[in-house]
């Protein structure tokens, strides 16, 4: 049984040392979701695991993932559009918008234990927010 105090300590460590340097909620969500093994669903982070244990690192990353996911799924579409714009600007990638619209990588950003209704809402909001940004980009090109 893992001590809650240790997990909270690992969460603080992660937030201060790693997640604080990332710009925006989407960048943090993409980062945390990326630490999860697609086959086993277990999260890995060498830094946290060396300070605590692999089991604690797994729990801490899962908790951070859930928090990041909730902050996005509970946000209005307007806020999500702003967050996505910030993420695109930070990545300086012109093809990001079309890539995200085509291959829908946001589908793998939901936590494993998440309820299906939240996952559906999350994917739906991303699809709409990306379509809004694509429509704005199209209008800018036309002007």
């Amino acid at each position: 049984m893992l001590a809650t105090r240790d997990v909270n300590g690992a969460v603080d460590y992660l937030k201060k040392r790693t997640l604080a340097s990332l710009r925006g909620d989407i960048a943090r969500l993409v980062y945390v979701a990326g630490t999860r093994d697609y086959n086993s669903g277990v999260y890995y982070h060498d830094g946290v695991a060396s300070c605590f244990t692999q089991a604690i690192a797994n729990r801490a990353l899962a908790q951070c993932h859930e928090e990041s996911f909730r902050s996005i799924v509970e946000a209005p579409i307007e806020t999500l559009v702003d967050k996505l714009e910030e993420y695109i600007r930070a990545n300086c990638s012109e093809s990001l918008l079309s890539t995200w619209l085509d291959i829908e990588p946001y589908r793998v950003l939901a936590p494993l234990a998440c309820d299906p209704l939240s996952t559906k809402l999350f994917c739906s909001n991303f699809k709409i927010a990306l379509s809004i940004l694509a429509s704005r980009a199209k209008n800018r090109r036309r002007d």
Partner: protein
């Protein structure tokens, strides 16, 4: 001759209907107390959080997308929201039906069950089914963003049904000991 054929057809149809009901009844018979408790937990934790439904049907999202002057995105928003609400309706209704089928099957084995509790459960169940049908119809007619009050009411009725079901499940013991008891009306 025509009258006999007509009577036979009606008879066959009635027989098919009775067999269908019997088949449905035996399919739902498999649910036990722990599965019923699971169905209740799924309903209470995963399907009934009112804030999530409010988020899905938030009118501010509609207003924001409308301001973008992109008709295809507005259409996409309405389609997506409609799909989500219909998905929620179908899953919630399925879980509530599962619970109700369990209560129907187990009612005669629970000696402590008061008629008032049974009536409350049945009334909430019927109100929920009615609210579901009304909500489904209104979504098709008005779209998802004008039905938030009915959606909230449907969640409220489902929660009331869950509360009534929870009270009954608390006095329902382990299926193996419970089902072996003498039926209440025997």
């Amino acid at each position: 001759m025509t009258q006999i054929l007509f009577s036979l057809t009606i008879g066959c149809l009635l027989l098919a209907l009775v067999l269908f009901w019997f088949w449905q009844g035996s399919a739902s018979h498999k649910l036990n107390v722990s599965e019923a408790r699971n169905a209740l937990t799924v309903l209470q934790i995963r399907l009934l959080p009112i804030n999530l439904m409010d988020r899905v049907l938030d009118y501010n999202d509609f207003l924001f997308v409308q301001k973008q002057r992109a008709p295809h995105v507005l259409e996409l928003l309405e389609t997506e929201r409609k799909t989500i609400v219909l998905y929620w309706l179908s899953h919630t209704r399925q879980q509530v039906k599962l619970l109700m089928s369990f209560h129907i099957k187990s009612a005669r084995y629970i000696a402590k069950l008061a008629p008032a509790q049974e009536f409350k459960l049945a009334l909430n169940y019927l109100t929920f089914l009615l609210a579901c049908d009304v909500l489904q119809g209104l979504i098709w007619i008005l779209g998802p963003f004008r039905v938030s009050k009915v959606a909230r009411y449907t969640v409220f009725v489902a929660a009331r049904f869950c509360a009534a079901s929870e009270q009954i499940l608390m006095i329902t013991k382990d299926p193996h000991t419970e089902m072996q008891q003498v039926p209440r009306n025997a």
